[in-house]
């Protein structure tokens, strides 16, 4: 009787592999779990960062579209008090009722309750909460026509310059 065998892993090799895999899984389990939780944490932070980025882009768009005053400067006023910032500006906006372009007053609020953007127009007032997470905001004028907004929360600090 021929004793020809195909080359393969031996039983011992397989058993050692399984044992090694078991050990590896046990060892890496805590690491993987941590990594998953860290990933979720990072994901949340990134989502919040993205939320803040999106808010700042929207604010930038508002500032870019702000109408001007007779002195040629943009119609923007800002108030800062104890980590709270308010920005008032005038711009053209599309009315949700008539779909007409007309002047609106946009008010941005950055404070303990989060970030809100309100629109006041002849047709009514609208308020939208863009972020409900606590944020500390500081605003400063860094040049004649440049302002700097710094947003801080427990995980990160984000700042952006806006040209007036």
């Amino acid at each position: 009787m021929s004793s020809y065998r195909k080359p393969a892993f031996t039983l011992i090799e397989l058993l050692v592999s399984l044992a090694l895999s078991g050990v590896l899984i046990v060892l890496l389990n805590s690491q993987i779990t941590n990594s998953i939780f860290t990933d979720v944490k990072i994901k949340k932070q990134n989502e919040y960062r993205l939320e803040i980025e999106s808010v700042l882009e929207q604010l930038n768009a508002d500032i870019l579209s702000a109408s001007h005053q007779p002195n040629g400067q943009k119609s923007i006023k800002f108030y800062a008090l104890e980590n709270k910032v308010r920005l008032h500006l005038k711009r053209f906006g599309i009315s949700p009722n008539t779909q007409q372009l007309h002047g609106v007053e946009v008010i941005w609020k950055f404070d303990n309750s989060g970030i809100t953007r309100s629109i006041n127009s002849a047709e009514g007032n609208y308020r939208r909460i863009l972020s409900s997470k606590q944020v500390n905001a500081e605003i400063e004028r860094v040049g004649e026509k440049v302002i700097k907004l710094v947003l801080t929360n427990q995980h990160f600090t984000k700042s952006k310059l806006f040209a007036l």
Partner: protein
């Protein structure tokens, strides 16, 4: 048993281990790159829009037409348009006041040109309280301050402008309706005056005065004529940009004291991208 064909080493456990490590690194790397790309994409879009707007803003200075397909440009001469700064002046105490003689002119212009005489009072109220007008403040801004919808504002754009007082009404470049409203003439008299100004029959203020004296006996136009010029020298122009027939930008430029064209006020409703 042929042991010679067997490979040495624990291949399976090594392969499993490598696979595990590579998977973890790849998963974390992918998540990081995806978030990073999302963040960059937003900033990149706004930078692209700004760059495109800057390209369009250069067109009036180069006196060139847009090369982008589907984008067309229209030049508008504004030196012959009434300047709303003529309405106000400052007294000896540096306080604003409205020049009464100018009010009927604005009312007539708004009636004849834009069919919006009801805007006269809000305009006067605003100008009474506003500071001096400087370059960088356009008529669209002004109408926004009055809470006038842009649809209405577009109708007023060819009739009025707002700039410092030094930008006079150039009679040689004024439309018949502007002449009719400014000098309170009939449509045919304004047409005649417009023709005389265009062909040089009326070359100066004295000739305008004598023309007006025929139609308004005893009325003194010397004060009104101080706000006018007959130079036919362009000092204010605009470019209207359209994409597939839809207006998306209004670029307003003025000639400064040094004789250079500068940006007054540019409006973009939206920006077509390449």
């Amino acid at each position: 048993m042929k042991n010679a064909s067997r490979k040495n080493g624990f291949l399976l456990p090594l392969a499993l281990l490598s696979l595990l490590v590579v998977s973890i690194i790849a998963m974390n790397g992918f998540t990081y790159i995806r978030h990073h790309t999302n963040l960059l994409k937003q900033s990149e879009n706004s930078v692209r829009i700004s760059a495109q707007q800057e390209k369009f803003e250069l067109l009036p200075f180069e006196n060139s037409i847009p090369v982008q397909p589907d984008v067309s440009a229209q030049f508008v001469t504004l030196s012959g348009v009434y300047n709303l700064s003529f309405l106000k002046a400052r007294d000896v105490h540096n306080a604003n006041y409205i020049i009464e003689e100018q009010i009927p002119i604005v009312r007539r212009l708004l009636s004849l040109c834009a069919n919006k005489p009801e805007l006269t009072e809000p305009i006067l109220e605003y100008l009474k309280l506003a500071g001096d007008v400087e370059i960088g403040f356009g008529l669209i801004d002004f109408l926004n301050e009055l809470s006038v919808p842009l649809d209405t504002g577009v109708e007023v754009l060819p009739c009025l402008r707002i700039l410092p007082r030094s930008y006079k009404l150039d009679l040689a470049l004024a439309s018949d309706i502007t002449l009719q409203a400014y000098f309170d003439l009939s449509a045919s008299q304004a047409r005649l005056l417009g023709r005389y100004l265009a062909d040089g029959t009326i070359p100066n203020h004295a000739a305008v005065m004598s023309f007006l004296a025929k139609h308004h006996k005893g009325k003194d136009f010397s004060a009104s004529l101080r706000n006018t010029a007959i130079s036919a020298r362009l000092d204010h122009k605009a470019m209207v940009l359209n994409f597939k027939g839809e207006t998306f930008a209004y670029l307003d430029n003025v000639l400064n004291r040094e004789g250079n064209w500068i940006k007054n006020r540019n409006f973009f409703l939206w920006t077509p991208m390449n």
